[in-house]
Point group: C2
């Protein structure tokens, strides 16, 4: 699955991945891949810039560490990031309902 259609939704996915505890960038990518059964295998050139963007926006907070000789940048949600994640979920619900309604052709539960 191409992530091109993700435009505007990727941030929420990354935040959701960090919800259960701090992760470093590579682990976030892997977790996202696992959570979707390998259907969302994002290139690192997508993940890292997105994480930088989230950090600049104050939604996540990163810190360097070294594990097994490899440097890692571990990210965790900020309070603002947690609120943003809740907003992203609401937004997604509405977005999905709207698109499903307009796209039609399939029985999608538009009720919410």
């Amino acid at each position: 699955m191409r992530a091109e259609a993700l435009k505007g939704h990727l941030d929420g996915l990354l935040l959701a991945t960090l919800e259960d505890g701090p992760q470093h960038g590579y682990a976030v990518k892997e977790a996202l891949c696992d959570a979707t059964g390998g259907k969302l295998d994002l290139p690192t050139g997508t993940v890292y810039p997105a994480l930088h963007r989230l950090e600049r926006a104050g939604l996540i907070k990163g810190s360097w560490s070294v594990v097994g000789g490899r440097r890692r940048r571990t990210y965790e949600l900020t309070e603002q990031g947690r609120r943003s994640l809740a907003g992203a979920r609401d937004h997604w619900q509405e977005f999905a309902a709207v698109i499903s309604a307009a796209l039609g052709g399939g029985p999608w539960p538009a009720t919410n």
Copy 2:
């Protein structure tokens, strides 16, 4: 609702609007607005270029006419457009399921 998050999904919506019969551009925009309870009120600067794009791609076919002194460009689905619409619906179902799974936090019926 901003259409920014639409990236990659708008084409399918436009095709779906034309599925029940030919429409001119402005009517497509209005129909999309109605179908979503006013939540998807696209600017004309989004709709017209998108229709041109779809026509160039051979998914819709346009023809000029004059109604009530106003010129209209009426579009209808091509056979290729019909197939593309079916593909867009499939793609949306999978996309929505994947995002819902990864975003979590809400009971979304991933079964379909």
